[in-house]
Assembly symmetry: C2
Homo-oligomer: 406 residues x 2
Amino acid sequence: MTPRTDFAAWLQGTNDMTSRFVGAAGIAGLVNVAGGLPDPSLFPSERLADIAAGAIRGTPEVALGYGPTPGLPELRAEIAARFRARGAAVTAENVMITASGSQALDLIGKVLIEPGRVIGCDFPTYAGALDAFRPRAPRYRHLDLADHAGLPAALLRTDLAYLVPNFSNPTGKLVDLETRRALVAAAEETGTWLIEDDPYGALYYDGPALPGLLELSCDGGDGPYRGPVIHLGSLSKQLVPGLRVGWVIAAPEVIAQLSSAKQATDLCSNTLAQMMTLAALREGLVEEVHPRAIALYRERRSALAAAMARHISAWFDWEVPVGGMFIWARAKDRRLDVEQVVEAGLAEGVLVGPGSAFDPMGLAGPALRLNFTANDAEGLDRAMARLARAMQAVSPAAAPAGLAAG
Amino acid sequence: MTPRTDFAAWLQGTNDMTSRFVGAAGIAGLVNVAGGLPDPSLFPSERLADIAAGAIRGTPEVALGYGPTPGLPELRAEIAARFRARGAAVTAENVMITASGSQALDLIGKVLIEPGRVIGCDFPTYAGALDAFRPRAPRYRHLDLADHAGLPAALLRTDLAYLVPNFSNPTGKLVDLETRRALVAAAEETGTWLIEDDPYGALYYDGPALPGLLELSCDGGDGPYRGPVIHLGSLSKQLVPGLRVGWVIAAPEVIAQLSSAKQATDLCSNTLAQMMTLAALREGLVEEVHPRAIALYRERRSALAAAMARHISAWFDWEVPVGGMFIWARAKDRRLDVEQVVEAGLAEGVLVGPGSAFDPMGLAGPALRLNFTANDAEGLDRAMARLARAMQAVSPAAAPAGLAAG
C-alpha cells in the first residue's frame, strides 16, 4: 500500500528549527541559548496550584466544561480593562482569547490571507509567524521602517503588515516612537491591517515602555476600537508559558471573523487555563512577578553581552538591546554558513539559533539569535566559550590569538 | 478608514450554528438539546483538583512550561499502550497529542488537503469536520458504505475518506463490522487515507464495542503501525471536555507532518492539561466514570425516545441508536424548513440542532439532531413538548388532534 495523496505543498517550506531544538534538548550538558524560554524560577507555582484546585472545586462545570469560542467573558473584560488603563479605548467586544499567541497568528492567517496576498514585514522577522502564515501561501515584501514618508505607499502595496515593535524577535530592535506614529498614520490612511505582535512588551530593562501601535491608533473615545491595528498579546513571557493563553485585540468585525475561524480550529480554548489566567491577573500575580523578572533578565542581558565580548567578538558584532530576550549577533564575515555554526555548536555542547530561519530572503546577512533569559551568568559564559570553539572550527582564520581548541 | 483587504473567502461558507447556540445558551429556562455536551455531574472534579495542584507543585517547570510539539512523551506512550491492549499494534511514535479532536481535524486539513482535493464522507456528517476542512477548500463526494464491492473504486475517486464509524454525528448510525472490514480492505488496496473520528467509541449502550478501523488495519506485529487509517480520539465525552486534549494515531510519517503543522499552529498544547489527562488515565478515573456514564446516558436515551414518541411522532421518524449522544429525527414532510423549526423552537424555549448543517448537499432530507446526554428525563420531556408546540406553529396540518397551542 502506497499512499496516493501527497502531503500539502506548504509543508516543504517549513523550517525544522524548533523540532531540532526539542530533539537537542535531551543532550546531557548542552547549554541552550537558542530558545525564547522564561526562567522557571520565576513561576509562581504555589499560588497557581491553589488557583487551579480552587477553580476546579469552585465551579467544576465551568473549569472542566466547554467554554465560549471567543473566550471566557470575564477574562475578555479583564484584558480590555488593562488596556483601557494604558490608554487604549477598547471593550470586551474588541478582545478574543486564543490558545497562545501562536494560535492568534494561525487564525489571522485563516481570516486575512488568501494565496498570493502580500504581507509586509521588517526582515528579519519572527520565524513562528512565517510558519503560521505558510499554509495560506502569502507573498512577502520588506518594509523599510526608516522611510516614514514612504510608509503609506509601502502599505498600499501590502494586504497586511506584521511587526514586533517591542524588541523584535530575532533582532531585539525597538521601533521608536516616531516610526510608530508614522506606521499608525499610514495604516489609518490606507486601510491596511497592522498586526502588532507584542509578547515582549513588558520586558523593558532601561526605561518606561513606549506606547503601542494599538494605543496610538485609539482616539480616546469609549470604544469599541474600530481601527486597523490588530494587537496580539500573551502572558507566556510574563507569567508562565505552559497555560497557552493569549489574546487578540482588534475591531469587532475582525474579532467576529477570528471567532468563526477559532470555532473551526479548536471550538474553544482550555477553560481551566483561562480561569487560572484571570485569577492570576485579578490577584496581581503578574505584577508580583514583573520586578523580579526585570531584575533577573537585565542582569543576564549584561552577562551575555559580557560573555560575547570575552569570547566571540572576533567573529560577530551586536548591539545590546533595551529589552526582550535576545541579542542578535551579526557575522563579520558575510560568507559565514550559520547552519555549519549550529552543527559545530552542537558538537561543542551549545545550541544557538540560526538567523536564516528569520530571514528567508537573506536580506540581513549571516547572524545568530542568542537568548539570555533561560541561563544564569555562568551558563551564558560557558555557552559563549563553547561557541568560540565552534567558530574556531568553522572559521579559524578569524580566531583570536591564544584561543585554545577543544 | 476602510480596510482594503477582504476577509478570506472560505469564511462566507461557515455555518453559525455553534455561535448561535452559544448565544442562545443565555436564554433563561431554555432546554438545550442541540449540543453534544456530557453531563457535568459525571466530572470527577475533586480528584482532578488534587491532580492539577499536585502536578503544578510536583514539577512546576514541566506543568507550567512549554512542552514538546507532538505531546508529552509519557502521555503518547500511555495512549499507545491502551490501544495495544485493544489489539492495535501501535507505539508512541504513532501518537500525537492535540488540543482537542477539533484541532486534529484542522491539522489533518493542513497536511492532507490542497484546494480541490476530494474528501469522501457518508453524508450527513459531522459539521465540525466540514468547518475544520473549509479553509483548505476541498470538494466532497458521498460514499455509499452499503456498496462494499464498490468501495475500492469509490476510494480511488477520493484523496481521503472521513468517517465516524461509532455513532455518526449527527445520525447516531453504527457502521457494522462487515462494512468496517470492507472499508479497511479498500483503503489498504487503494492507498487512500481513512480518517476514523472516534469521540463516541466508549459510549456503547447495548453491547460490546466493535473493533475500530485502526485495529482492523493492524497486522498484529509489534508496530509502529504504517497503514492508511488515521484515528482521532479524545476524552471530551468520557472524562471532561474542558481540558481540550485529544490524539491522532497514524503512520509515523503522518505524525511527523502533523507535528510540523502543529508547530506552525500553536507550538505545543497546554502541558498541565496533558499531565492531568495522563494522571486520570493512570489512576483509572476514566474507568471509574465509564459505568456511571453508560448507565446515565442509556436511561436518558430511552427517556428521549419515549418523549419523542409522546410528543413529536406526528412529524418525525427515527431509529433509537445503540450508542453515542444523539437521536436523528427525520421529518416526514420533506418540504419542512428546519431553520424555521429552530427559530420556532427557540420561541418555545427549546434549542434543537438543524440537520442542514451536517448535510450541505441536502442528500438526507430535513431532519433534526437531538441530544439526550445533557438533560434529565424531565428536561427531555419538556424539550419535546416544546418542540411539538413549535412544530404545530410551523406545520399545523400534521399536528395530532388535541395538541394544545401555547
